[in-house]
Symmetry: C2
Subunit: 440 residues, 2 copies
């Protein structure tokens, strides 16, 4: 545990930037080429390719890629009652948060005789990817499937990697079944993304693909996002992150536990502590060292802590500035008056206010979505919501008078752009300006 | 004019798919490599690279890449009063439509003691790309700058290619100035996207890049979208499209004029007529031929018409099905009761109802946005709105009782996922389950 304590105000702008720079993502070009090859194979060969790739990467040969009713029933029986109750409560809270999201539909008369509307519909077919590598993630099944169901998407397909025994993780299956998913495929990695983007014999082609994943999944999503003929994607997922803003009133053990809960996600996770109090910083580091050794995933967490940052700032304004420049996925505020700082916090995926709001609550069951922008994308990208599962259309309806009233405007703009056929589509309806004025 | 009339119900599913397939986009891999090289040069060399690329691609050497006050004043003087009035009316209508868009912020108590909120902020810095290749597009400046201003984005940078005389298109400048843009750079193509994504001496680095463009611009946007450390993008823009649904009551000359207004955009534009009336189809084709010869851009339109489609369907239900399967950018409904069909129309960027709503109206001044999903992306992607210029964060605040109430749930889910540090962040606050029940 050798995280240096840095003093923000003593750093130059360039040093500050360097301190907040994310670790570089490795081998992007090489991995992209490999992922392109997987995608091409799945497109060409369908299930045949998926089965072979599954055998190679997941170590199991599957004849039937789909999960059947019997496997779901077995999963229900395999889970203890406390686990089932936990899944149900998480679903209920996530549903309550998401069903409050407004549709955003509206209508407005922009000009006499011109009525414009925005209306939304559920996306016809969505694909949900639930990772199950070093940790199977039933919570992710909930975070994807609940908004998909609330949005009303008629077709919801879920892919998750099989275990070596050929079954899917039972908690993932139960979470999926209880959130109304009827089509589940045991496929992981880039091959799952390719199968949902282009369709195979077993996997329906979907219009949009959702969910986090490892570097292979992320690279595959990025590839298909570049193909306009394929499915679109929710967002690019990177390594997970937590930034904690704390003052002298924070409990060092709470802060340390929160940083570790993020660090255990993966060796590439990043955690940052930004504090007004150097003494607290030292106490948190001591608590971190003490708690770390007790963790089953301490090797992973220790690797993640190698690129942890501890930054001492002069006041909470400076803390907010550091956080906004870093733009963390998760932001925890453990100060005397956390809500007072909220108006200054601009760039974050999800914010956790106060000592009783550990990141764990948002990961599982406060109700908010845990699919969030990473790697600084919180500057411009929003966490997942029901909106992402719907698609908006604009509608305009002009009366004859409405069109006549803006006909000169339309023709003048068409003239500025040199698009004569655009002008002609107006003139053929209302006559040209001279004709219009003489006939009136 | 040799567009065959096809009868939908006589086609197999595979033939229907083939008929609705978009023309393939050319040389994507080759162009991507060239675009990657441009992006790398701009990242490494900044303005120096931008100046050289501008000289090569736009045929002009610019010392100052930024537009100054004098150039904007000259642009205002260069435009006739009718053009200025048209720009102002378009801005007013676009503003009226967009400012009615709800923020979508809300708060909800998901469980006693657990308050969750969604709050939104403007994106700090946005980059707007306005093409000016075969046609300079002041209307696009309006469509990008109005929602950016309404969203409240503090920094709004606009890039548009210079003409050979070193000036930017005056109508683009006036539209930009009148929608509150203060930073305008004369840079086009992939180099403009790279400059805004990574920043140069003259161009500020932005968080998100918006706007349509040619294949080079699209490829550059797709490249930077794959780099999580770069700006995000609004959407991938492809060739423009219009599908018209018409019945026997439609005016053939109107329909033909609308199809041509779309066809003149570019040789790769696609137009489709779906009609219940074969006689109307023949009349539209005759009107198309007669109107085409009068157009200044008839060579471009004629090329676009080579991949036009005319499809006769049995009834309007089938017409809606064809449209939903194609998912057009623009959808015009010229039938006896256009609004009656609206509930069946699911996949489209923007819909134009009735004979007095030419696509030209939406391109310029009905108020709706003309930056819309193309190439079938309307199945899952929405046209541009104020939302795209804001970013949402979720917030949760738990009371001690709130955390205690879901503590078992959180620990059970952490247990299912094998994430012990997640459980520990809860336990360290509320004690373990046994301790909690014995102490109460």
């Amino acid at each position: 545990m050798d995280v240096p304590i840095r003093h923000w105000s003593s750093l130059t702008l360039a040093e500050q930037d360097a301190l907040l720079a994310r670790p570089a993502l490795r081998d992007p070009q090489e991995r992209r080429a490999a992922v392109r090859a997987i995608i091409e194979r799945v497109r060409r060969e369908g299930d045949l390719a998926v089965r072979e790739l599954t055998e190679r990467h997941d170590g199991v040969r599957l004849e039937d890629l789909r999960v059947d009713e019997a496997e779901i029933a077995a999963a229900e029986r395999a889970l203890p009652p406390a686990a089932l109750a936990a899944i149900d409560l998480a679903i209920a809270n996530v549903r309550r948060y998401h069903q409050a999201q407004p549709s955003g539909d509206y209508a407005v008369v922009t000009f006499p005789g011109i009525r414009c509307e925005r209306i939304s519909h559920p996306i016809d077919a969505v694909g949900l990817y639930v990772p199950a590598g070093s940790a199977p993630l039933p919570s992710t099944a909930i975070m994807l499937a609940v908004p998909a169901a609330l949005a009303g998407c008629p077709r919801r397909v879920l892919c998750t990697p099989p275990r070596r025994d050929g079954r899917a993780d039972p908690a993932v299956l139960v979470a999926a079944a209880r959130t109304g998913i009827r089509e589940i495929c045991k496929i992981g990695g880039a091959q799952a993304i390719a199968a949902m983007a282009y369709g195979t014999e077993s996997v329906p082609r979907v219009d949009r693909i959702f969910g986090p994943g490892n570097a292979w999944v992320t690279a595959a999503k990025s590839e298909i996002a570049a193909d306009p003929a394929a499915a679109s994607i929710d967002m690019a997922a990177g390594p997970s992150e937590l930034l904690v803003i704390a003052d002298a009133t924070a409990a060092p053990a709470f802060v340390a536990a929160d940083l570790l809960s993020q660090a255990e996600h993966g060796a590439d996770s990043q955690v940052l502590l930004v504090t007004t109090d150097e003494r607290l910083a030292r106490q948190v580091l001591a608590a971190l060292a003490a708690q770390l050794v007790q963790l089953p995933r301490r090797a992973i967490a220790a690797q993640a802590l190698e690129h942890a940052r501890v930054i001492v700032v002069e006041d909470l304004d400076a803390a907010a500035e550091v956080s906004n420049r870093y733009a963390p996925e998760h932001l925890s505020v453990q100060t005397a008056a956390p809500r007072a700082l909220l108006p200054q916090l601009r760039n974050a995926g999800s914010i956790f206010l106060g000592p009783w709001s550990p990141e764990t609550a948002g990961d599982y069951a406060s109700g908010t979505n845990h699919v969030l922008p990473t790697y600084g994308q919180a500057r411009s990208v929003s966490g997942l919501g029901v909106d992402h599962f719907r698609r908006r259309m604009s509608v305009q309806e002009l009366s004859e008078d409405g069109l006549r009233a803006i006909a000169d405007t339309l023709q003048a703009l068409a003239g500025l752009e040199g698009l004569e056929a655009h002008a002609q589509a107006v003139r053929i309806r209302v006559g040209d300006r001279a004709a219009a004025s003489s006939s009136r």
